[in-house]
Amino acid sequence: MSQGFSIPRFKLPRLFSAIGPHLPQWPHSLALATALNAAAKTGLLPADSLLPLEGRSFVVEVIDAGGQASFCYRDGLFRPLLSAPTAPDLSFRANLSAFLQLLARQEDPDTLFFKRELSVSGDTELGLVVKNMLDAIEWPQWPVLSSVTRFRHQPFD
């Protein structure tokens, strides 16, 4: 039914989750913080919607990859954390396919939550702020992105 590229539900082989935690985690944290700063700089993440994130710490855990990214938002910048905070203000936990489906706007976060494919812990209100901030992003209509992020009328046949 989906048009163009569709991300299937999958789970990485156990090997990943066995090896992943033993690898350094800072590259994930650095990559994610860099990407978020780029999104903020281009205006994709509006400055005013980032205000509630000030001084808060976050962990994004990819279960089947055995990896996690930790970062905080301070003085208007996303900053990688070299080690995961013991009690982050907010953490998201899911398999890689669920995160990819969310990013591509192929699945709804509440749907994944109901199906127990996405879990959120910590400050629930902060989680809602982040979720709604991501939902309100108007993705640029680049030709490659548009095949996965635009909502076209797709008749059922």
Partner: protein, 338 residues
């Protein structure tokens, strides 16, 4: 040539500009939205429209000949009536197609101050009888009423037969205890409710606690439910909690589930329902696109009228997928109660 059957309008939720565009692009006849404050009953952190997004959303929908309905459907709080009146004035200035109101004081204000503004009675107004609907028509000139989800289909039909007000019912979305406008469960647990602050079980009171093999949900410290890792979950509201009653622990009020009228669409159209509403302004643009697209296809199929309507398996699958608790129900529509 077969006459096309008259079908209800499809009213879809917009909690953000991308959600509004998803609704319009996928076939909604109208979208409903609200300001980013407690004048609407989906006042969640980071959700809804500021002025700029509102202007852009209204332009996007109306330029494609779709309607925009603005929900100002909470109850004016003591000493702050001016905030709610300002919201109505703002809606009139923006040129929305209708406002959805619940508070009789606000209905009175809107009807007197903006006589040309089309008024819909919100589900939060809790009109469950034709007497209540006709009262609001006589006093405030409402043109449409949204019925709470406590009524059976036969009761909806009775209302429609005894009023000239257009009737809107819920077609899809998360089902709560269904006593809209009169529910105090959220207030009981947190001191805040949809009627007062615009949110049921506000997120600041919610905690999801993960422990090996299970997840617990607490609302203001009250344990609402515990899920094993493979059990579908629902929203953290009291009505969807599992409680111990007479020694048994179960969903004593309502299960985590979504209403879905797909199977009874022909009956809904036949009794003269003017519009069906999709719940879910708190959901993402993805959900709005999925549900709007599916119900548009079903309504278009019904409109053809040249063969018996049959819900397609793909529609059922798509709607069940996004449903709360991953299950759907006909709710009160097909219950034998009176």
């Amino acid at each position: 040539m077969v006459a096309r059957q008259k079908i209800p309008e499809l009213i879809c939720p917009a909690g953000s500009l991308p959600a509004l565009k998803a609704a319009v692009d996928n076939g909604a006849d109208a979208v409903y939205l609200g300001y980013r404050d407690d004048t609407n009953a989906r006042n969640f952190a980071g959700l809804n429209f500021d002025h700029k997004a509102m202007v852009e959303g209204i332009r996007y929908a109306q330029s494609r000949r779709r309607q925009v309905l603005m929900a100002i459907n909470t109850f004016a709080q003591p000493g702050r009536a001016a905030d709610w009146r300002r919201a109505v004035d703002g809606a009139a200035d923006l040129g929305v197609d209708a406002v959805i109101l619940a508070d009789v004081g606000l209905l009175d204000y809107a009807s007197k101050t903006h006589p040309d503004l089309r008024l819909h009675l919100s589900v939060q107004g809790s009109a469950t009888s034709y007497e209540a609907v006709n009262f609001a028509q006589r006093e405030f000139g409402i043109r449409r009423a949204v019925l709470p989800r406590v009524l059976t289909l036969a009761q909806v039909e009775t209302v429609i037969r005894h009023t000239t007000v257009a009737i809107e019912v819920f077609g899809f979305g998360s089902l709560c205890v269904m006593n809209e406008g009169r529910c105090w469960l959220s207030s009981y647990a947190t001191g805040e409710s949809p009627n007062t602050v615009g949110a049921c079980s506000p997120a600041k009171y919610v905690k999801w606690e993960r422990s090996p093999g299970r997840m617990s949900t607490r609302l203001n410290g009250i344990l609402i439910d515990r899920f094993a890792d493979d059990e579908p979950a629902g929203y953290p509201t009291l009505c969807k909690g599992r409680f111990e009653v007479d020694g048994a622990t179960y969903y004593a009020l309502e299960e985590p589930t979504s209403l879905n009228v797909l199977e009874i669409l022909p009956a809904i159209a036949a009794i003269g329902v003017a519009a069906i509403k999709v719940e879910g302004r708190q959901r993402s643009p993805t959900y709005v696109a999925q549900v709007t697209r599916t119900l548009r296809a079903a309504l278009d199929e019904l409109a053809r009228g040249d063969r018996p309507f049959q819900a397609k398996a793909a529609w059922r699958t798509e709607l069940a997928k996004v449903a709360e608790g991953s299950q759907v129900t006909l709710g009160a529509y097909n219950r034998p109660w009176r």
